[in-house]
Symmetry: C2
Subunit: 469 residues, 2 copies
């Protein structure tokens, strides 16, 4: 009896192991070799940088719903066609728009001097002629929430929390809540306006914009960010103990509904053309900079990676789609539109990765795949090892525009970039081409081409059914 049990167990184990060994996704040696060649070609090419240079020079700022948005879509189609993608098309993406108007602020008393601010995306305007009120300071959003009901009555709330610098950008999440929810929380305490310390890690005199949302049923008050030096200045004034009165003027307003487009370029697979790998980035930017880091770099990296595959003598087995997502900044609208438009076809998406964290080098690859596919991911990571990239974990997010697709179950990868400096420039006028290091960009492209090519060639699949709601 005992023996029989052991024997059965051994046999069962053997069967289980064989099953894994036989069905586990993997890569042909030849494909691994080609991936390594593509990696080395990427390190030799400046196409990625040239694409970012082209986008930032010929289009520049391209906030959703502006003429720059339309110019970017036109640019994207032309660029993909020029590079010889097998298919190039656009898909409509419709959204509400917001227009930045005048924006200024100044301390009226006790120490009159100007302040550098920028309106947060979707802020309402101040009354004509500006809004003047005393400042009330809060350490952070939590302190504001904890304050008594009329704590800020008639005042302008100032939230002074500072974002922490980190390679993985992990300081952003805790800090950014003040931007997203601050206005409605301040209004609940009776405030007439809100100024937050910019969500950023720099100390330059430029304020960081970014989207905010008003809570349903709460008075909408104008919301803006102060540059870090101006937030310091306000703190220093407040510390002196006299009431500090500030005037803020914001001329922002909501615009008409607008239809932009996701721009898609396809390398059509030779064996299973209906199955495809997604790589991509978002094509829109904020209006203040030229969107070189956010997300011109991602466009350059993913388009250049695809171009290396286009230049191979043969098409890969599966298709590869480069998606330039519309309007990520104001609510992942392009990503949502893609997921909705392709909801009946989700099973054909082999996997996906978006580049949207600037131009810093990739240091880690994370996956969200079925457990049996992890050995294959590690094979992929081995090809990336000479780039200084190692395998991390199986908790990848994939990128903001992939959240809606993730919600429908697709596997994703995160090629994690060094974002130590990313939030120095993020959503400011300072997001310009000079911040993009061409060598780092090549390293990114090398990693993406490995990812895209091997995923298109793999034996087996990465699984599906993840993150489904």
């Amino acid at each position: 009896m005992k023996l029989k049990y052991v024997s059965t167990l051994v046999v069962s184990c053997f069967i289980a192991f064989s099953a894994v060994a036989n069905n586990a996704p993997n890569f042909d040696d030849e494909d691994l070799k080609v991936a390594a060649q593509l990696r080395d070609k990427a390190l030799d090419s400046s196409l990625d940088y040239d694409i970012v240079e082209s986008l930032t020079t010929e289009v520049g700022p391209r906030m959703a719903g502006t003429p720059g948005d339309a110019a970017a879509v036109k640019w994207g189609v032309a660029k993909l066609e020029e590079l010889g993608f097998d298919k190039v098309w656009t898909e409509p993406v419709t959204f509400p728009t917001w227009k930045r108007g005048v924006e200024s602020a100044e301390v009226l008393s006790p120490y009159p001097q100007p302040l550098v601010i920028t309106a947060l995306g979707f802020s309402v305007a101040t009354p004509e002629g500006g809004l003047s009120a005393e400042i009330i300071e809060f350490e952070d959003l939590e302190a504001l929430k904890a304050a008594p009901a009329d704590a800020a009555k008639g005042k302008i709330v100032f939230i002074k929390n500072r974002m922490e610098r980190a390679r993985d950008g992990s300081g952003y999440g805790p800090a950014v809540a003040a931007r997203g929810q601050g206005a409605s929380e301040a209004a609940k305490k009776g405030a007439v306006g809100i100024l937050i310390r910019s969500i950023g890690t720099d100390s330059h005199r430029m304020a960081h914009t970014g989207v905010m949302r008003y809570e349903e049923g709460i008075t909408k008050i104008p919301a803006a960010a102060l540059s870090a030096p101006d937030a310091d200045l306000l703190e220093n004034m407040i510390r002196r103990g006299k009431p500090v009165t500030v005037k803020m003027t914001i001329g922002a307003k909501n615009g008409e509904e607008y239809t932009s487009h996701n721009v898609i370029g396809e390398i059509t697979g030779s064996e299973k053309p209906e199955e495809y790998v997604i790589i991509g980035a978002h094509l829109d930017s904020w209006d203040l900079g030229t969107g070189a880091l956010d997300d011109g770099a991602g466009i350059g990296i993913t388009v250049a990676a695809a171009k290396l595959i286009l230049d191979l003598p043969e098409r890969p087995k599966r298709s590869i789609r480069v998606i330039m997502f519309a309007n990520e900044e104001q609510g992942l609208i392009g990503g949502k539109a893609y997921a909705e438009a392709h909801k009946d076809d989700i099973k054909n998406i082999i996997t996906a990765a978006e580049s949207d964290f600037g131009a810093g080098k990739i240091w880690r690859i994370d996956s969200k795949v079925k457990p049996e596919a992890i050995p294959a991911v590690k094979q992929m990571a081995d090809v990336m090892a000479p780039l200084g990239i190692s395998y991390g974990n199986n908790n990848a997010g994939g990128g903001p525009d992939l959240i809606p697709l993730r919600g429908k179950g697709i596997s994703v990868f995160s090629l994690r970039q060094d974002g130590t400096d990313y939030f120095d420039y993020h959503h400011t006028p300072n997001d310009t081409l000079d911040k993009v290091d061409p060598e780092s960009l090549k390293q990114n492209t090398a990693a993406y081409v490995i990812f895209a090519y091997l995923s298109a060639q793999m034996n087996g699949d990465f699984g599906t059914g993840f993150n489904q709601k």
Copy 2:
């Protein structure tokens, strides 16, 4: 004969040597000891930083002729009185004024996008509604000068020369000529406007202002600086070979004549009160930043150094004057006014040094003194040696506001600061308190207190009659 000659020579040499030894300026050992104690006290005090914080917070921008100028003078008098100077007074300084108005620019074609500019000081306005013209690019001012007479007819000149980064700021001189003379040189070639690459070493999206001058008899055309990333952008557009048309709008204008004041605080000497040492900095700033580095740091350093001497149990032998010069930025007006007002009393100025190069550490002390005084300067430098400061040479300039006094023959010192980063912030909105390193400031104050105290105590003098025209 031969012997007699030798003997005479020996005697002559002996006499000459004795004369030097007897009359050569020097310091008592006790004074050198006190100087070392003052140095160490300076390293323990944050008064210098507190003064910069006070000036930038309570006054902020203080461009000559603005309400900030008046507030700064009031602040300066109050600060010197509060610190217990023996005498505090002001002397009038009268000058023409200039007001910055609106300023904006954009590329109209072929790639419409905004540009970040700032008007140069004393630029005229563009016509109402802005000035639109094709750009013509020049490598530098020399290339513009060498161009044919109508090379820029009807166009906006763009001078793209880049300032080199250097510890001693030596890149500034060659680069800044484009700012000072560019407009008139461009007008001579028929230009209707001029844009220069900012005279700075940074790559941030802020333009550097600074004064320019129109040549007599030449058409005055509007002049502005582009931020470095915008200059890059324009270069990248021009390289594509299509005509680039830019619209620039400048609303600047000249104002009324204004009278500001040099603010002077004196420590009155105990033995020779009529003789005095000058230390100082300029109180005005440009309007864009809060003038923390230019020249709040100099104010903080020199006032804090004097305060350490005020706190000694006895007054020094000679007087020490801290001068906060008015309107340095628009033509050394405060320095000229001081030299003119005190022209009959120049012989009483023992020596002088101005701090006007930001907040970087001092690495060298240079003098402009009579040769016999150089050993004394080296004694002084020895007290500074623990600060990392060594003696340089006898070609000191002394600082911009001392140029007019130098013209009248006074000896001067240059306590040379590390200016590697200074031109990253110079004349931009980014010249704010966060750029001031408190520890570097202490090192500066330590050097200035040694200089001021020993100069006030010295036996003999540094000589006079230098740099006279």
